[in-house]
Symmetry: C2
Subunit: 421 residues, 2 copies
Amino acid sequence: MARIVMKFGGTSVADLDRIRRVADLVEGEARAGHEVAVVVSAMSGETNRLVAFVDALDGDLVGGDNKTRGDAIDDEYDAIVSSGEQVTSGLLAIALRRRGLKARSWLGWQIPLKTDMAHGKARIEAIDNELLDTSMSSGNIAVVAGFQGIAADGRISTLGRGGSDTSAVALAVALKADRCDIYTDVDGIYTTDPRIVLEARRLKRIAFEEMLELASLGAKVLQVRSVELAMNNNLPIRVLTSFAEDGADNPGTLVCHEDETMEERVVSGVAYSRDEAQITILRLADKPGMVAKICKTMSDANVIVDMIVQSISKAESAANLTFTVGKRDLDKALAALEAVKDEIGFEGITSDSNVTKVSIVGIGMRSHTGVAQTMFEALAERGINVEVIATSEIKISVLINAEYTELAVRALHSAFELEVA
Amino acid sequence: MARIVMKFGGTSVADLDRIRRVADLVEGEARAGHEVAVVVSAMSGETNRLVAFVDALDGDLVGGDNKTRGDAIDDEYDAIVSSGEQVTSGLLAIALRRRGLKARSWLGWQIPLKTDMAHGKARIEAIDNELLDTSMSSGNIAVVAGFQGIAADGRISTLGRGGSDTSAVALAVALKADRCDIYTDVDGIYTTDPRIVLEARRLKRIAFEEMLELASLGAKVLQVRSVELAMNNNLPIRVLTSFAEDGADNPGTLVCHEDETMEERVVSGVAYSRDEAQITILRLADKPGMVAKICKTMSDANVIVDMIVQSISKAESAANLTFTVGKRDLDKALAALEAVKDEIGFEGITSDSNVTKVSIVGIGMRSHTGVAQTMFEALAERGINVEVIATSEIKISVLINAEYTELAVRALHSAFELEVA
């Protein structure tokens, strides 16, 4: 008998028939004699519906100057959007009881799953799993509302979009589960987006570090923090589909610590993100501390800076500084920069949100040379101009004109022969 | 400065614009210097949407004989349907903050509002209002999710349909509020349904006892238990509309203890209920205890018996027994009776769900004679046949063919001159 955590995302519980299908899958594991905890997301579309309500009211500007937009409402946001998972967990518990199984739903505050006070993007601090343990040991399937916890103020907190993955992994760690199975609408982790590259191949295994880079770089199958948490606790995650036919082979992809077989691969996947925008600061004074000042300006405006490159022209004691920010932060970033233009001293700003970040990821890059060369040759052959480059030990990212996104992804997938198992 | 509880029903918070309107009304009381607690229902239609989910899954018959419909799921029903009020309370808190007011939402378990374990129709046992008090004393408007509490099992409980009225009254009692204002989509309590009688008149005041009878008899403005609770604690309730134009006169109806002005009225209102069904047991043996046995059969089947009349025919030592049950319980009641037919001994059963209960209510009936005569004459003049009669100190109810509903209501409204202030 094993202890298993199963997690089902929004598309897997999108309607009553999908919830019945999930109940079938849970029943299969329970009838096989396993102790099961299930973590569910909100029915797909539900979180967006609730967020739209919040945004509409939050956007109201009513009356005098003490009533400006932006007053903290994250605590209420959490109380509202967490209701989506609350509904799904109750419905799945009912579906399981109708299959003759013992089951009950658990909300974050009932477990309790304790988080910090960062409403809207809280981090898990502790899971007191005594009540859960007792309930599961007496034969109950635990159906846990994902994405939510309780903060020290006694109020509901949420873990940020995709947070149900993190709920599942944290729960698996707390319950000392043997496995954490993340059910989604794709049957595993692919070498790249199959909508762009028809030959994209499902990986049998992928290392935590690679998955972490892929998740950070725009592959949206798993939330970044869930991968970190699994890696830190050496908990293998299996990513598989809830849409497989009954009895069909559904091995998914195992996300685990690297092993020998993995190291033979140089590059495991190609990721891309369209959520970037590029900002160039023209003729920034070439004095020590200027880049730090720009970064502080962005940090003060709560904008995260990603890729960054400086092109120095010594002759003029001035340089162009180029960096990327999230596309939705662009306006905020530009306004913040304009406000400090005179203080810091630069000639102007240009920006471009028609850019894409394309990345290759692989733990094999640590011990192989020539990877960057292969990458840039493949792009150059297609006439794709690289604006910015960023690297880490196991990834290389480039910023390119968004029009070339698919071409670049296909070129890199082919250059590293990812279609070959 | 007064302490006020304001309650808004589903149509009053039906969409974001209605919620903004509610925020305006709450702002008005808060800016007038009052301490305000607001109780909200789910956005109209939301509870029905959630109940439909529950019913669909609850109706599944999957697999073997231990998986029959009817296993208790009320705990999960509560977890699911309570989410509707959770959403509204958060949204209203945001709308209030955008008006520059301090506000926060409260869920039943956060207060805590403690109930018994009767999930789906729980009764309030205690409200620990210490946290609420502290929050309100520091200037926060408390926005409370109605309809919900927490049971001793640590799970969410709900108070039954219309339970937000009871939440509001119980909260007003616990908070020692000066007033409890119930905002709805009608501007008060009427002498009868204005959709049937154009001359129906809004009452300025109505006694608790009368309101209790009217609520029990089918007038759906207030939940019965909320009236009981207000009566037992001598808390005046004002029923008024949230749909009035800004600045318009909106006095509503005050529900309070009877006073001299009220006693001048003989009859205060005419109510009707189409939710009845009539059952007649033919030729029941005329022996002691037979009626008790029928009542026990109904009670065991969890069916509530309302009006009851026996027509004895001494010559034959047998009698016909007629009574009414809720229309939706009719099939269940008939099945239970068929099962005991031989044991109890009767010839047959007839039933009729095409009936309506019409009632007149008034505390003045205690001290006036001739009320019943006026009622039956008015009905007889229109050729309306009375099937069953039931009376209490302050009401007379008759069961009639449903086709005559409107005619009977108009005849009684006119006979007691209710259109005259």
